[in-house]
Amino acid sequence: MRFEFRKFAFGLGVVIVLGIALVAVLAPWITPADPFAQNLEARMIPPIWMEGGRAENILGSDQLGRDYFSRLIYGARISMLIGTLVVICSGAIGITLGVVGGFFGGRVDAVVMFIITCRLSIPLILVALTVVSFVGSSLTVVVFTLGLLLWERFAVVARTTTMQVRTLDYISAAWAAGCSLPHILLREVLPNIVHHLIVVATLEMALAILLEAALSFLGLGVPPPLPSWGLMIAEAKDYMYFSPWVIMVPGVALFVLVLGINLLGDGLRDRLGAARDA
């Protein structure tokens, strides 16, 4: 019974993440309206199933009369883009540091651990806020700020798993076969720790998406009029008492995406772990 539920949860995660990714990619072709087009005559129209809703705006419209459904779809683009880019950026930093520290040990490892400890003592949101408020907010700035801050879990996991792999005989066998150091790091060590890193990547992606939403909510993330989900929530907060759906629609979208990524990560951890032990 429990096993069945796990399968279901993993399946749900896959469907959610793939679905949202697909929507993000196909956004220009599936949106019913221009997400930036304002229509001041049709402001704050409720979703279609509520009283006063209309077919042109399935999820209603916002305070400037922009189609909420289209904005939500374009918002998925921003979230997925930021999630992916941040994971690539932080993954590159964290995995490099972790593998190098774990493989060489000794003084090199001490330096890597020191860098990780320094990073852990930095208050994430605070630094992100400071950087963005100094440099100005744009998509690129958000991606790089988060990418440069979110690598520590990659580093910790890569480091410990590399330490486990490093002592195994196939690494000695690779040396004995005349392999070079870069070859051993990239072709012998990395493929054997990558299943741990994939799980970290999903968790980091969920975290990056939430942080972007938080930054955007505080007005320091993606600049308007880009339709980020966090920005949509921020713009909606003034109207939530009279039209609660304006805040619920992007909120639910964010919740569903992060839930989907986490389910996917959990499922992958079970699956990849099981495949290894078999």
């Binding site: 005989d169 004995a176 005349g178 392999c179 054997n192 078999a278």
Partner: protein
């Protein structure tokens, strides 16, 4: 044969792991072409470290020195890491004790075997795979085509050790260093692997440096034997000579531990050597075996002469 130098000639090898501990204290080994040279001794006496030192694969922090170390007449003591990489896996190959972890679980058997040839000979992947299939057949694996596509976890221990041997032979090495290749296998598979090594040696003219603690293995396969104790070679001779007339008390002790059908009387205890290998600290002089030796005398604490009978049987002891 006589005018050609030994394939591997190591003289006075020393390995130091920390300023205080010297693990190998002046080991000399000569491995002739086409012969099997066994290094025997109990755990912790420095057999594996000697082998790794020859390959240049010691852990960082270990210090290696030697009178000389030549492979096919070429000095390999002062080779750069790059030149050593060219040599390793190509002209000298190594197989390890633990077949369960010696293959990389992330790649198929075929792709990691082909990799060795691609790396050293700059051939295409397909050529590497063909050579791998040929060698798998040679080491007695049926359906090599199928095995090439399998991952290490799909193979049994004996099969994996055969794969390891085949992989070591990819570039036609002249020297194969085998570090306890049969220890982790069950007895019937052990016998198969030893026979395989012997057949391969005859067929390919391979020199084998085999490390083992098992005198049964030595008796089956060795031409020459070096007995190691506490980081030194205490006795070295041809295999027949060593079994017929062991000279060092440690060698005699080892041989007494092995039951031989017909010579052992029922109810009589097998021989054993009391104590364990001592920790040799710096400044240690004399014989490392003296605390466990039944023939120890005061002179053993001062120094030990190297004795040579002129026919290649050498040992390190006051006793003749």
């Amino acid at each position: 044969m006589l005018d050609r130098p030994a394939l591997l000639d190591v003289e006075g090898l020393r390995v130091r792991f920390s300023p205080k501990v010297e693990a190998i204290r002046g080991v000399s080994l000569r491995v002739e072409r086409g012969q099997t040279h066994c290094v025997v001794g109990e755990s912790g006496c420095g057999k594996s470290v000697s082998a790794l030192a020859v390959m240049g694969l010691l852990a960082r922090g270990a210090k290696r020195s030697a009178g000389h170390m030549r492979f096919d007449g070429q000095d390999i003591l002062n080779l750069s890491e790059r030149e050593l990489q060219k040599l390793r896996g190509d002209r000298m190959a190594m197989i390890f004790q633990e077949p369960m972890t010696s293959l990389n679980p992330a790649y198929t058997v075929g792709s990691q075997m082909a990799e060795v040839l691609v790396r050293h000979r700059r051939v295409g992947k397909q050529q590497g795979l063909d050579r791998a299939a040929e060698l798998l057949a040679k080491v007695g694996i049926t359906a090599p085509g199928m095995r090439l596509a399998q991952y290490p976890h799909q193979l049994s221990g004996g099969l994996r050790q055969r794969v390891m041997i085949a992989m070591a032979l990819m570039c036609d090495p002249e020297l194969l260093i085998a570090d306890e290749p049969t220890t982790a296998l069950d007895v019937t598979v052990q016998a198969q692997i030893l026979r395989l090594l012997r057949d391969l040696q005859q067929e390919l003219g391979l020199a084998i440096l085999l490390i083992t603690h098992d005198l049964g293995v030595v008796a089956r396969i060795a031409h020459k034997v070096s007995v190691m104790y506490a980081g030194e070679v205490v006795e070295s001779a041809s295999a027949t000579d060593l079994f017929a007339s062991p000279r060092h008390p440690y060698t005699r002790g080892l041989l007494a531990c092995v039951p031989v059908p017909g010579t052992i009387k029922r109810g009589e205890p097998l021989g054993s050597i009391p104590g364990t290998v001592p920790r040799i600290a710096d400044g240690f002089v004399g014989c490392g075996f003296r605390d466990r030796c039944a023939y120890a005398m005061p002179a053993c604490a001062i120094g030990v002469p190297q004795r040579d009978d002129g026919a290649g049987h050498r040992h390190l002891c006051h006793l003749q």
